[in-house]
Structures are given as C-alpha cells and as structure tokens.
C-alpha cells in the first residue's frame, strides 16, 4: 500500500475513533449508545421506550450516526435494584443515561457517581434530588392530578365520599399527585376523602386494595389514582363488585387497559401524561448533551384529557 493510501486509511480511522468538532463548537460521533432506566417493568414505560426508539430513529435519519438504546428495568419498584442497574450501566460508559427516579434521596449517590464520571444524565417523569442540576422532562404532575380530581368533583356534583390510590408513596411524581388530589378535594366541603390505598404501581395490588376499600366503605362514590397501574386495578375492582356506574372513576395515564375502561364506560375519563414524548425528548436531550450543546433544565410534555369522545381519536 502506498504511503498516501496509508495516510488516508489512518485519517479515516482517526475520524471514526474521535469525535469531530462542528463549526458551532458541538462535536459529532458516528455512533451513540444511550441507556433508559424506568422505575420498574411496566407497560407505561414500554411507551417511554417506544418514544426513545423514535428519537433514535430520528437522529439516525437526520445525522447518519447510529443510535443504540439500551432499555434496562428493575423487576420490582425497588430503589436498591434500580441503583444496581444504574451503577452497572455507568460501568459501560454510555453516551448518556435517562432515568425515572424511584426515590431522589435514595438514588442520589448513584447519580453523583454518573456525574463524577461525566456521563450525561436526564430524568424523566421525576424531579432531581435537592441541589442536583440534572435536566428533567415530564408533565406537571400536580396539574395532571388536579385535572383528574377536579373532573371527579364535577361528575359527583361537588358532593360525596372519595378515595385516592397513592401508587408508590416514596416516588416523587406519585406523592406529588396524591398531595394535589388532596388539595383539590379539600377545596370542597361536601367532598370527603374516606380512604387512601397504596398499590406500589401494581395492577393486582391496586385491584386488591380497591376491592378492600370498597368493602370497608360501601358508600364510596368515586376514585382517583396517582399512578398508571392504579386506575386499571380500581376499574377491575369496580366491575367485580358490580358497582359500574355507581362508583365513579377518573383515571390517570393512557395504558391500553385504561383506554378500554373508558370505552366500556367503567371509567369516566383519564388525565394522561404522554410517555412517548417523555422517552423521545429524553433521548434528544441526552444526544444534545453528548454533542456539547446547551440543554434546558426542564421540558414540559403536557397532559392530555381522554374521554369517550376522543379515546379513539
């Protein structure tokens, strides 16, 4: 091989091995690998993953770089398991990690590890630990909850006994939603919160909790939830108890089962965050950080309100 050919080959190898610096000061690479870590194996997070894959495809189409998404979820909503996955992922030196925190304080040490190793981070569906600067994406959890609880108050004509399913109480988004439900109900003197359940974001537990609460409070008029699994379990419990139409349900999020409950008339409606958008913008923000571009501290992906009128639209 001639000296010129060797030089060209070496230059090509170096170009592939090192990031290229663009004119605007950002850098580009031929390939990126991002890790997405949800709270738990759960259909809501599958939609986040769908959004992440869409973003990967968009970046590939626009830039020609290959983008790999590693989706790794704890088998249960356990912060210890989630930290193990986060730390193992840090060890693989990805170009960025997007994570939905189970507990900001409990996740803090592992997040600090990632920052210390200069791995770009993005939080979705959760807020950063106090004092940590990490870009985060999500809808306004409180507003999402208030949309649901105000709707329940409306269909109950501002009078009745209601219950709240709290999800995973230590998860920030779930606890914020539960608190905001309470705030709305407190505004109405004839609305009484008679029970609160904990389903740990598990449909079966939600069903068991809802069934038990409805047994203990036969006069219950309505339900709201603080997580995606909660309203699905509540809906099942309402159907099993034969209280369809008697006990009102305003759901949360847009799992397929939730949409079916609306279609079947078991649930009145649902206040839905948009998980696909959260996954999409998580990857976009990670990619932008990986290129050295400035990113916003927060992206609001908004909430959708789903009723029988628009559930299939």
């Amino acid at each position: 091989m001639s000296r010129f050919a060797l030089s060209v080959a070496a230059a090509a190898m170096l170009a592939g091995a090192f990031p290229a610096v663009a004119q605007d000061g950002t850098t580009t690479k031929d390939s990126y690998r991002f890790v997405v870590i949800p709270k738990v194996v759960h259909p809501w997070f599958d939609k986040v993953n769908d959004g992440a894959q869409m973003a990967a495809a968009a970046i590939e189409a626009q830039t020609g770089a290959t983008v790999e998404i590693n989706y790794s979820a704890p088998q249960s909503a356990d912060v210890v398991q989630q930290n193990q996955i986060l730390e193992s992922s840090i060890a693989t030196r990805p170009d960025g990690i997007a994570i939905d925190l189970l507990d900001p304080a409990g996740n803090r040490a592992s997040l600090e590890d990632a920052q210390y190793q200069e791995i770009p981070l993005v939080l979705f569906d959760s807020v950063p630990p106090e004092g940590m600067m990490i870009p985060y994406i999500g809808s306004d959890f409180c507003e999402q909850a208030k949309i649901a609880s105000r709707r329940l108050v409306e269909i109950l004509n501002e009078e009745g006994k209601v219950a709240i399913m709290m999800g995973v109480p230590s998860a920030p988004n779930h606890s914020i939603r539960a608190e905001c439900h309470r705030e709305v109900f407190a505004e109405y003197p004839n609305i009484e919160v008679v029970a609160e359940g904990i389903d740990n974001d598990d449909i079966q537990i939600a069903q068991q909790q809802a069934a038990a609460i409805m047994q203990a409070h036969p006069e219950l008029d309505g339900w709201v939830a603080s997580d995606a699994a909660g309203p699905v379990g509540i809906g099942q419990a309402i159907v099993e108890a034969g209280k369809q139409g008697e006990v009102q349900l305003v759901g949360l999020d847009n799992l397929d089962e939730m949409l079916d409950l609306i279609r079947d008339g078991v649930a009145d409606s649902s206040s839905a965050s948009q998980p696909e958008l959260q996954g999409y913008w998580s990857v976009m923000l990670l990619w932008q950080q990986a290129t050295g571009a400035p990113v916003p501290n927060f992206i609001d992906t908004g909430n959708a309100f789903i009723t029988q009128d628009n559930v299939d639209g």
Partner: protein, 330 residues
C-alpha cells in the same frame, strides 16, 4: 466426623475427584468460570468501578446469606430475615432523624432490635416445636406490617452524613460494606469450622435427636443462631440505609429468596448438616455477577428472569452432573 470421612475418601480418590466432590471447590470453579467468561465477553466487567459495583451489591445480600446459611446448617429457614433487615433500617432512620438520637447509638439499637426479632423467631420455634419455615412466614408478615405502620410507605430522609461513609465510603478503593462483610464472613467461617459451637451446629443439622442425646443443648444453639441471623440482617439493613442516605420501606424485599438460593447454589442443604458459609457466599457472588452482566450485556428486562434463571440452572447442573459422573467413575 464427616470431615474425617471426606478427607480419607479424598486421599483414596485423588486430587481431581476430591476437588469436584468438595462442595466449596465445585461452586468456586463455577464462580471462576462465570467470572472469566464475563471478563472475556464484556470490556467493562473488570473495570475498577464495575468491580466496586459488584462488590457493594454483593455485600448487603451476603450478610443476610451468612445468617440464612447458618440456619440452614441447623436444618432451619428464616423467611423473615428480609423484613428484619428492613425494619431495622427503618428504626435506625426514625431514631436518628425523628428521635434525634446519636446515630451510632441508633445503629446499636437497631442491631439489638434485629437480634431481638431473631430471638423471637428462635424462641417460638423451640418453644412451639414448629419448623421455622412455617413460623417465620407469620413473623415476616408481622415485621413487614410494622414497617408499613411506622412509615405509611414513605421513606425517611435526612440520614446524618457522618454515618453515610458506612455505605458509601471505601478503604483503599474497596467499598466499606464489602470490607465489613469480609470481616463478618471471616468470623462466621471461624465460628462454624473451628469452634465447638460450629461442630454442634453441624451435628444438630445432621441429626437433631442424636445431638440431643450427646448432650448438646440443641434449643440454646438454635436460638443463638437465630439471634445471629437477625443481627446480621439488621446490619445489612443499617448499611443499606447508610448507602442510600434514606431509610426505604422496600429495604429487605430482595432478601427473602435470594440468600436461600445463594446458599443452595453454594452447596448448603436445606435439610441441614451439609455445606459451608464460604460456599454460600460463593453462591451469592455468582448471583451478583449474573445480575451485573445482564445489565452490561444489555439484556432486555423481559428476558432477564429467564437468562439469570437459566445461568443458575446451568451452573448447579454442571456441579451436580460432574459429582455424579465422578461417583460413577470411582
């Protein structure tokens, strides 16, 4: 008695047969194979950071495994060890955060609580002549319920920084929980293999009635081992609180079946009298490495249970088949 028999047989069969027949060395061989394969297949596995991740993850489970394996040597099982660890962690957090008690005294009290809960398990098992497996299904519910009553499912935050080094600190780069685990492991190995107390444990696990006839105080030793197991679970819970910087109600959820599986993989029989603590820790290390490489290899979360289960089945099958083959050969 059993050791003498094994030694004579090893001398007769030669070193290879002895190697494979000895449960500790068999599981160590499996551990080495998995370790080397992981190192060859993933460029990230042997990095210092990843090794510390594996070591720290192993440390908490290993402390509970030491207690569970000790009980299994007696022929007992304690399904409440996870909730004891969780309750001790929560009580530590409540004492130091809500109660304003000195963190070190809080930790000491939490360890005492773990020992006391272990004592309750051991005492009731002995007094009611129940198998501990049955009894501890109930006490696990009570201790787990107490966690929910105390916390309403909400984590306790604000753990003082001065104790966080127990979970987050390192000594010469080695995570503190792992160092503590090694010290506990050394003591446990010494206790079980080098003291009369340990010999009595094996004797009780092999044949409780015969041990009783030989004058061994079976119930006293059984209660003491339950106390030790409870205290070790509490220690794991406290260290995890120090690591997380928060007392989580979910602490201990993963410590029910994991330590039993680790001990069984490590050659400890659930029927008692067979196996070693060090073998159980090798079993726990196998599980910890599998959990780590599943993430390093980017295995889909939907396949993780199948993959980790399959690796464990292959590992224990390899161990069992090689022993059977050698028994036939000899």
């Amino acid at each position: 008695m059993q050791t003498t028999y094994k030694t004579k047989r090893a001398e007769r069969d030669g070193p290879l047969a002895a190697f494979v027949r000895t449960p500790v060395l068999g599981v160590l061989a499996v551990l080495i194979v998995i370790f080397v394969a992981s190192a060859l297949l993933s460029p990230y596995f042997l990095t210092g950071y990843n090794m510390s991740v594996v070591a720290r993850g192993l440390a908490f489970v290993a402390l509970v495994t030491i207690g569970q394996a000790s009980l299994m040597l007696l022929g007992e099982l304690d399904l409440s060890l996870g909730t004891i660890g969780g309750l001790a962690g929560i009580v530590t957090g409540m004492l130091m955060v809500n109660g304003g008690i000195d963190p070190w005294i809080s930790i000491l009290l939490a360890l005492c609580l773990g020992a006391a809960l272990g004592f309750i398990n051991g005492f009731l098992t002995a007094a009611l002549r129940l198998h501990s497996l049955v009894l501890t299904i109930g006490t696990a519910g009570i201790y787990g319920g107490a966690i929910l009553v105390l916390t309403r499912g909400v984590a306790i935050t604000g753990i003082p920084p001065e104790i966080q080094f127990l979970g987050r600190g390192t000594i010469w780069g080695v995570p503190m929980p792992f160092v503590i685990m090694l010290v506990v492991l050394a003591l446990a190995v010494f206790l079980t293999l080098k003291t009369p107390f340990g010999r009595y444990m094996y004797a009780i696990g092999s044949n409780r009635d015969a041990a009783r006839m030989l004058g061994i105080k079976v119930d006293r030793i059984r209660v003491l081992v339950f106390v030790m197991a409870g205290a070790l679970s509490a220690l794991a819970g406290v260290l995890l609180v120090a690591r997380l910087g928060t007392a989580q109600p979910s602490i201990g959820n993963a410590w029910v079946l994991g330590p039993i599986a680790a001990a069984v993989i490590g050659g400890v029989a659930t029927t008692g009298g067979v196996g070693t603590i060090i073998g159980a820790i090798f079993g726990a290390a196998i599980i910890a490495i599998i959990e780590n490489i599943i993430v390093l290899f980017g295995v889909s979360p939907y396949w993780q249970g199948i993959v980790s289960g399959a690796i464990v089945v292959i590992a224990i099958s390899f161990d069992a088949i090689s022993r059977r083959w050698l028994r036939k050969e000899n």
